[in-house]
């Protein structure tokens, strides 16, 4: 889980760099923003699931 979150953060940072290089291209910027939004949602979902799993383990 930690590795996945870390990799998502690294991808997100790389995409910000790419976005800077294509800052004048609306299509690329929009696509990168969409992907970054998906990354954030995935990270949130994974974190939530991870937290739930921890809670379930505690209960057990």
């Amino acid at each position: 889980m930690k590795d996945i979150i870390q990799t998502l953060i690294e991808i997100n940072n790389k995409l910000s760099q790419v976005e800077g290089a294509y800052s004048k291209d609306e299509i690329v910027v929009r696509k990168i923003n969409d992907v970054q939004q998906s990354i954030v949602l995935l990270a949130k979902e994974l974190t939530k699931t991870g937290t739930q799993n921890v809670e379930e383990l505690k209960r057990e």
């Binding site: 590795d3 996945i4 990799t7 998502l8 690294e10 991808i11 790389k14 995409l15 760099q17 790419v18 290089a21 294509y22 291209d25 299509i27 690329v28 696509k31 990168i32 969409d34 992907v35 998906s38 990354i39 949602l41 995935l42």
Partner: protein, 152 residues
């Protein structure tokens, strides 16, 4: 024309000769021989399955099944498999990096690299992704075709 290309190789799609549409990746490659190839009047046939819509745009049938919209290309001719109305022509990615692409005013290289970026980003299924896939994406961002753009 497209022989020796394999799954994951990039190709250029044209709507007419010399009218470039976009780049795409080969999803599957199958080889037909014997009776199967003879159906199409050949003894040997290499077929390339190319998705003309990215994963985010894939259509869903009425029964809920996800449907990939494949372009099925005869690798020998670059044309759609016989029997269908011809809409597209597929060729190798042009090797003319410094030539200006008239449709946008950029160089071919810049246009194609941009399209590869958009295609790659559209081709990720974020909901079902695992660590191996993520590392592959990160690798592409680290050493792939995006690197040149950082330098500009």
């Amino acid at each position: 024309m497209l022989k020796n290309l394999n799954e994951n190789d990039w190709v250029a799609i044209y709507t007419k000769p010399n009218l470039f549409l976009k780049v795409a990746r080969i999803d599957h490659k199958i080889i037909l021989m014997g009776d199967e190839a003879e159906t199409y009047g050949k003894s040997y046939l290499e077929l390339l399955f190319i998705r003309i819509k990215d994963r985010m745009n894939k259509s869903i049938d009425a029964d809920g099944a996800v449907k990939n919209d494949y372009l099925i290309i005869d690798a020998e001719t670059g044309k759609e498999l016989e029997g269908k109305k011809q809409h597209f022509l597929v060729e190798r990615i042009p090797d003319c990096k410094n030539i200006v692409f008239e449709q946008t005013g950029k160089t071919w290289y810049d246009e194609i690299e941009k399209q590869k970026l958009i295609y790659t980003l559209s081709d990720i299924e974020w909901k079902s992704i695992d660590l191996k896939d993520l590392q592959s994406i990160k690798k592409q961002l680290d050493i792939g075709f995006f690197e040149r753009n950082y330098a500009n």
